[in-house]
Structure formats: structure tokens, C-alpha cells
């Protein structure tokens, strides 16, 4: 099978996954206590007519399967419907927040990668040294520290005591320099656990490779250690890192919910939490579907990259 056919087949396979996720989300959202009508009315008394008209407006008077099909049909036309909590469209609300979350997630991911992978390589090369032990402890702390706590700690240190950065986002576009400066703390907070994971993973992958015959052979050929690591070991080690990197995309989106709250960053995470509390079903469904799609696509890319990085893999 050619690489192209493999990619095509993997892409087609993602469709049923997305349908499954969307159906599951739809069903789970229906299980939440309280209905959008209650939210709109704030649990206050209302005439049956008013309730009925509100129910009809949100298709709540239809059977659940029909509600799902109606929604799915709209989604296929890229129409996520109207918000319940306001008169605006779901797509507009999401489009407004997406850049914020992507930039935050993107910077976190880069921090995680550029801190985690080199740290892992160094730890592996100097296995058993104080540096290795130190990185192990730091990584363990990084994985174990809750985002929420770390975020507040950084705010208190850098925002309040040292007064180096603002505690709340500047009033500026997301790509403005002051926004990017502000994003350092949230991105570090969000990226810490991923960086730690990359460190541990790279360390074990590199250690594993260093034991291989080809490394010994390369060294025997007189190649210097630097070239051995960079040209051979790293490339082979990256395969497992790439796979985990894809999963980290989901991890970052997940963590954004907490980090965006602590840093008052108006991204998708904030929108999602509020939508859940408001029983704003269309928004919840759309964001979950979006995140699911991102994870599925990331995994797809990982698989393709995996195949490309290691030509021995057959498909």
C-alpha cells in the first residue's frame, strides 16, 4: 500500500470516530440536569405556553434522535446554531475564542517540546549523573503539580511580588507583543506537565536507542558522539515522542480550561465552562466536537509522521 492510500484510509477511518463522539456528546449533554428552558427562565415560574414556545425554539419537543439528526445536519453545513445564553451564533462565539486558545496552546506546546526533549536527551546521555536525577525530580514535580496551583504561584511571584508582568491580560489583540509577554506565565503553567512528560519519554527512548547495536557500530566507525546522537539516536527516538506529542494536544486543550480561568484568558476553555453552567447545549456540543476533531486529526498526523519517520513501518 502506498503512503497516499494509507493516509486516505486513515482519514476515512476517522469519520465514524467523529460521528461516535458527536453522538456521545449529544447524549451526555442531554443527561445534564436542568434544561435550557430552565436556564432562560432562571427556574422561575412561567406559563406553559411560554415554556412550550421556548421548547419548540430549541427543538426540545422533538425526540432525542431527531434532535441529534437535526443538529448533525446543521453541523455538516457548518452551522452550529444559535446560542441559548445570547442571540449570537455559536460559530461566531467559537471563532472569536479560537485564536486565544490556539496561541496559548501553541506556545505551551513549543515550551514543552523545546524544554522537554533536550532535557530528556541530556538526562539519557548522562544517565545516573546528578543532572539526570535532578531532571527526574523536576519532571515528577512538573507532572504532579496541578495547573491551578502552579498558575497562582507564578502570578503571586511574578505578578504581585516582583511586579514584572500583568496579572490579567492586556487589552490588546492576541498577537500584540504585550499579549505575547503576558502569555508567558499561562503558557509555562500549561506546558509544564507536558514538558515533564516529554523529558521522561525522551530519556527512556534515547536510553533504549543508545543500547542498540547500530550505535555501537557507529561509534566503532569513529563517528563523534554528537553526530551519533543527532543523526541516529535522536531520529529513532523521536518516533515515540511524536506519538505522545499528538496525545498532548488533547492534554493542552483540557488544561486550558483551568489555566484560562486562573489567568482570565478569554479562550475556548472559559467559553466551554460557562456554556456548561448555562446549559448552553449548542456551544458545548460544538466545542466538544471541535476538540474531538483536533485530537483525531492530531493522531492522524502522528500516524502519518510515524510512517514517514520510520520507513520500516509497513502499512
Amino acid at each position: 500500500m502506498s503512503l497516499r492510500r494509507y493516509v486516505l484510509r486513515r482519514t476515512l477511518l476517522t469519520l465514524p470516530i467523529l460521528v461516535g463522539v458527536s453522538a456521545l456528546t449529544f447524549a451526555l449533554v442531554k443527561l445534564l440536569p436542568g434544561t435550557p428552558v430552565d436556564y432562560v427562565l432562571q427556574f422561575q415560574e412561567a406559563t406553559p405556553e411560554l415554556r412550550a414556545s421556548l421548547r419548540a425554539q430549541y427543538h426540545l419537543d422533538e425526540p432525542v434522535w431527531k434532535q441529534y439528526l437535526l443538529w448533525l445536519n446543521d453541523v455538516l453545513h457548518l452551522d452550529f446554531g444559535e446560542r441559548i445564553a445570547s442571540d449570537r451564533s455559536v460559530s461566531a462565539a467559537i471563532a472569536e475564542r479560537l485564536p486565544e486558545t490556539l496561541v496559548l496552546g501553541g506556545i505551551s506546546f513549543l515550551i514543552a517540546l523545546f524544554v522537554g526533549v533536550p532535557a530528556g536527551v541530556v538526562a539519557a546521555v548522562r544517565r545516573g549523573s546528578l543532572l539526570d536525577e535532578g531532571s527526574r525530580v523536576v519532571a515528577l514535580l512538573g507532572i504532579a503539580t496541578p495547573n491551578f496551583w502552579l498558575g497562582l504561584l507564578l502570578i503571586l511571584l511574578f505578578g504581585v511580588h516582583l511586579n514584572l508582568v500583568p496579572v490579567i491580560p492586556p487589552v490588546a489583540p492576541v498577537f500584540a507583543p504585550e499579549s505575547l509577554v503576558f502569555l508567558v506565565l499561562p503558557a509555562v503553567t500549561l506546558g509544564t506537565a507536558s514538558a515533564a512528560l516529554f523529558t521522561r519519554l525522551t530519556r527512556s527512548a534515547v536510553t533504549e536507542q543508545l543500547r542498540q547495536e547500530y550505535v555501537r557500530a557507529a561509534r566503532a566507525r569513529g563517528l563523534d558522539e554528537r553526530t551519533v546522537i543527532r543523526k541516529h539516536v535522536l531520529r529513532n527516538s523521536l518516533i515515540s515522542v511524536v506519538t505522545v506529542a499528538a496525545v498532548q494536544v488533547a492534554f493542552l486543550l483540557d488544561g486550558a480550561v483551568v489555566v484560562e480561568r486562573v489567568f482570565s484568558w478569554p479562550g475556548l476553555g472559559r467559553l466551554l465552562v460557562r456554556a456548561i453552567l448555562q446549559r448552553d447545549f449548542p456551544v458545548v456540543q460544538a466545542i466538544v466536537l471541535l476538540v474531538a476533531t483536533a485530537v483525531v486529526v492530531a493522531n492522524l498526523l502522528a500516524d502519518v509522521l510515524y510512517a514517514w519517520l520510520d520507513p520500516r513501518i509497513t502499512y
Partner: protein, 545 residues
């Protein structure tokens, strides 16, 4: 560690961020006319007929104006009305101020007032107006007669909560959901969801300076000294406090109790507090044994360690509650009455509690320990006081209590559902009242207000209390009303459908060098009143002193 004061500016200059210095560097600093305050949640609507959340109401409080306003002590002051003249039991003649314009340039007339009332019909806040409104007759552009459906004592106070909007909003020619349009001192500027909500000084506000009507102040400026008010939306309370301490904001609305001591110790920050109109309570499910027994309810109520709760949970802020009406309303309650209710039915007394519980369990033939729960939402302070009550109850032989937490809207749904009084769980709740005593009693203890109609979660029903509340509502004489409310409170406290826990305190914290003249309004959603309320003689400046 001493704060490094200049580095942030340097850093921002270094990255070329000139525009942000005014806000991020020193809020309200450079031109002295911006106030940066906080909202703990996002604004969900600009339309007063839709707003059930206090955040939205406080956000448009400076944009809309009512006919009259209630000042910091609970007295009524004319705003858009110059005069309210009672013609008979059910008719009031309203004279409107002339020359008032809305932010869209249109004149404010009697037709706008009538339309403002009538557009409440069929909306979530219908009862704000239709509890008393019957009809309005327009006499001329600036006079109208309002007819009430029944004599209604809180009429003037209630008018203070009804913002006047342009008539066009009632005919859908104007859409308030895209931006509030009122007559107030501030006009809506921008709202970036989850980020900020901004108001700017309105050009044509009617106030001409000088003495506020009926107030002692004679030096209120003709226009608000603060040009721009930016509300930053900061959900996380700890981040709110950090933003205040870091100088990113000037004023934090309602900081968490456990941060107040720290803020008081901070020289740069002033903490302003005022007794608030609200209380915390433990609601008993009256339809469920053993809470159907009065002795059991009083027994539990006697085990609520109110003083300890205030000390350890609320950092000494607030005061024990033994009856529903807030001491804020001193026309309708008194220290001696509260003390009497405490002594007779409520005050913490484990020995008395043991006798009562013993009698109650014996009467119901229930063998202890009785396994039950206290349900609560995730508000930290509330969970902690519920835990203290649980510990007290579990220290007796009668109960085995656990705590169950719910996310807020789920919790509200559960507590206000029709059958919460049948579950065996006690409910830890907070209640915010207003300036009229009716707001502390009717929603919670009137039989027709039983859930799901409103908020009587205990499903308490007493013909006597219903009658007293109705009489009090339709009596204009304050002394007579006080008498009815005292009787009603006595009855409620005696029958103990709820255990009252604590009267709250409203707290605002602000940067001393940035804010001057700010006063804390005691009721929820009125927190920002003192930014500019000329008829009450209140205004705030930036710059401090």
C-alpha cells in the same frame, strides 16, 4: 519582598507596547480618569427584563436610571421622577424630570416610562413589575398616573429596581440585547465576552451640578469625574486579589473572606465594608422525617455554631443571624428582637439541643443515629460552614451527617425543584434581600412561594404568616408594618423551617492611591452605585489621596 515598581513599565516599553501602559501598568493612572474594577462573572444580558444574575445588573446599573433610587441608608431619592404623589390607596401620580435624554438622543417622556413597565409582561422578571402594576395613564409628556393592582407598601422602593428604557425597546425598534440604552451618567461602550465590559461618561446627563436632591452634599460635580469605567472579568477570586495587589485593577468587588485580612494589612489597599442585606441559612425539608418534627428542627438549629462559623470561616466578618430581616432595615427589626429570638429558639446550646432532639426522636419513634446529608454548592465559604454544622451534629448521638456538593446551577435546579422538601437532605443556602422587609420573608416563607414557584424550599406553610405578610404588604404605615413583620418573624423562628446562620457583609477593596470617595452599597448588584449617584450626593474620583 519589596515590590519592584518600575520594571513592568520598562518591560512593556521594551516590547514596544505603548498602548497598554495606561491600563496594564497603572490602571487609571495616566490621565486620571479611568477606573478599572472587576466582575466575577461575565455579563450575560443588557436587558433588565431578562437579567436574573447580579453581575448583569451591576454592569448596567450606571447606564439605566430608575424613577427613584434608594440611597446607602435605604431612603428614597428622586431620579427621573421629581415627585411621587399618592392620590389614593392604589394610584400614584409620577412627575418626570424635564430635559432628560436617552443615550440615543431621544427624550425621556411618560410614554417611555409606561412602556418600560409594560415590557416586563411575559419576561423572566415579570414579577418585578406585575406584582403591583395594573395600568398607567399618560397625563402629559412628563406626568403619568400609575394604578396598582393592590395597595403596595414597597412601591417606592420597588420603583428603584425598575430601570427606564426607551419606548422603542418595547416595540422592537431598539434592540437592547446588543447594547443597553438608558439615561444614566454612563453609556455603554464595549463588551468583549470573558474579557471586559466598558462604559464611558455620557455627554448629556441631565444633572446640572450642585446639591443632590434631598441629600446634604452640595458639591457634586455636574458630570462624573471618572471618564471611563472598565470592568475586567476575572472569575478566579484569587486572581482578582492578585490583580488588585499587583496594581492591574483599582477596585475588587466582593473579595473572598479569607483574603480580606491580607488586604487590610496592605498599606496600598483600602477595604470598605458595610452590613449587607442577606443571610446564610440551613433549610429543613419539612415533608421528611425527622425534620417534620419541630423539636428536631430547633435542636439542629441550636447546634449551628454561628460564632465559630463567623470567626473561622468568615474571618470575623458578619454577625450571627437569628431571624430573617437584616439589621440593615432598622425600621423593621432591632438588636433586642434578634437577641430575644436567639435566646428563645436559635442560639448555640448543645445541652438544650440534646433535650430537644431526644424529645423529637422519641415522638417520631426513630432510633438514632439518623443518616442524612447537607447539600450545598461549591462556594468555599458555604461548604466550610456546612462542614462545621456537620461536625456539630455528628458529635451528638443523634446524627450521622455527610456533605454533598453540587455545581451551582445544578444545585439551584435541585433546591428549587418541586420536591426538594421531600428529600431527607438539609440545604445550605444563601439569600439576598432588598430594602423592603417583604423581600426577606415572602419568597422564603409564604405558602404560595413554595418551590418550584419560587424559593420556599422548606415548603413552609402557615396561614397566619401568609395573612401577616399580606397585611404588611398592603399597609403603608411603617409602625403597623413593623408590628406585622415582627409577628411573622416570631412565628417563623418559633417553627424553625430554617436555621438562620449569618448576616453577611458587603466588602469592596480598592487601591488607596487610585480611588477616592468610593462607598460600599449594602445590596447585591448596587456595588458600583457610588461611582456617580448625584441625587445621593455620591461620586468617586480617581487619583486618590
Amino acid at each position: 519582598m519589596p515590590p519592584v515598581t518600575t520594571s513592568r513599565r520598562q518591560l512593556l516599553r521594551w516590547v514596544g507596547a505603548t498602548g497598554a501602559v495606561g491600563l496594564a501598568g497603572c490602571a487609571g493612572g495616566d490621565d486620571g480618569s479611568e477606573l478599572v474594577a472587576t466582575l466575577g462573572a461575565d455579563v450575560s444580558t443588557y436587558d433588565p427584563t431578562q437579567a436574573n444574575d447580579t453581575t448583569s445588573r451591576k454592569a448596567f446599573d450606571l447606564v439605566y436610571e430608575p424613577l427613584v433610587a434608594v440611597d446607602f441608608e435605604g431612603s428614597v431619592h428622586p431620579v427621573l421622577a421629581t415627585d411621587l404623589d399618592q392620590r389614593d390607596d392604589r394610584t400614584w401620580r409620577v412627575s418626570l424630570r424635564e430635559g432628560v435624554t436617552f443615550h440615543d438622543g431621544s427624550d425621556c417622556t411618560a410614554a417611555d416610562v409606561k412602556a418600560s413597565f409594560e415590557r416586563y409582561a411575559g419576561t423572566p422578571r415579570e414579577s418585578d413589575v406585575f406584582l403591583w402594576y395594573d395600568d398607567a395613564t399618560i397625563r402629559d409628556d412628563h406626568t403619568l398616573d400609575v394604578t396598582l393592582s393592590r395597595p403596595y407598601a414597597p412601591f417606592q422602593l420597588t420603583l428603584g429596581g425598575v430601570p427606564i428604557v426607551p419606548e422603542a425597546a418595547a416595540t422592537d425598534a431598539l434592540d437592547l440585547s446588543t447594547g443597553p440604552v438608558g439615561t444614566g451618567p454612563y453609556a455603554f461602550d464595549t463588551h468583549e465576552p470573558d474579557r471586559l465590559y466598558r462604559l464611558v461618561r455620557a455627554d448629556d446627563h441631565w444633572f446640572a451640578g450642585g446639591s443632590g436632591n434631598g441629600s446634604d452634599a452640595d458639591d457634586v460635580p455636574a458630570e462624573p469625574p471618572i471618564e471611563t469605567i472598565t470592568f475586567r472579568i476575572i472569575v478566579e477570586q484569587a486572581s482578582q486579589v492578585a490583580a488588585l495587589q499587583g496594581g492591574d485593577i483599582d477596585l475588587a468587588n466582593n473579595p473572598p473572606a479569607d483574603a480580606v485580612a491580607d488586604l487590610r494589612d496592605d498599606d496600598a489597599i483600602t477595604v470598605s465594608e458595610h452590613l449587607a442585606g442577606g443571610f446564610e441559612m440551613l433549610v429543613f425539608p419539612l415533608a421528611s422525617r425527622p425534620f417534620s418534627n419541630r423539636d428536631v428542627r430547633e435542636g439542629v438549629s441550636r447546634l449551628i455554631p454561628r460564632e465559630a462559623i463567623i470567626d473561622s470561616v468568615y474571618g470575623g466578618i458578619g454577625r450571627p443571624a437569628y431571624a430573617p430581616i437584616s439589621p440593615l432595615l432598622d425600621d423593621y427589626t432591632s438588636e433586642s428582637f434578634l437577641a430575644e429570638m436567639g435566646d428563645e429558639y436559635m442560639r448555640y446550646d448543645p445541652e438544650r439541643a440534646a433535650e430537644l432532639l431526644d424529645a423529637g426522636f422519641a415522638a417520631l419513634d426513630i432510633s438514632p443515629p439518623y443518616e442524612t446529608t447537607i447539600v450545598t454548592n461549591e462556594t468555599g465559604d458555604r461548604v466550610r460552614w456546612a462542614q462545621l454544622v456537620r461536625d456539630e451534629l455528628n458529635a451528638t448521638d443523634f446524627f450521622d451527617v455527610s456533605i454533598e456538593q453540587f455545581e451551582w446551577s445544578t444545585y439551584v435546579g435541585r433546591v428549587l425543584s418541586g420536591d426538594s422538601h421531600r428529600s431527607d437532605a438539609m440545604m445550605a443556602l444563601g439569600w439576598s434581600g432588598g430594602w423592603d422587609p417583604d423581600t426577606y420573608l415572602r419568597p422564603l416563607f409564604y405558602s404560595e412561594q413554595a418551590t418550584p414557584s419560587c424559593c420556599n424550599a422548606a415548603h413552609y406553610a402557615s396561614d397566619e404568616v401568609d395573612r401577616l405578610l399580606d397585611e404588611a404588604l398592603t399597609t403603608y404605615d411603617t409602625a403597623e408594618r413593623r408590628d406585622r413583620y415582627e409577628q411573622a418573624q416570631r412565628r417563623v423562628v418559633e417553627e424553625a423551617p430554617v436555621g438562620f446562620v449569618r448576616f453577611g457583609t458587603r466588602i469592596e477593596a480598592y487601591r488607596t492611591d487610585a480611588v477616592e470617595g468610593f462607598r460600599t452599597y449594602p445590596l447585591d448588584s448596587g456595588e458600583f452605585t457610588s461611582i456617580y449617584a448625584p441625587t445621593m450626593g455620591a461620586y468617586t474620583t480617581t487619583g486618590g489621596g
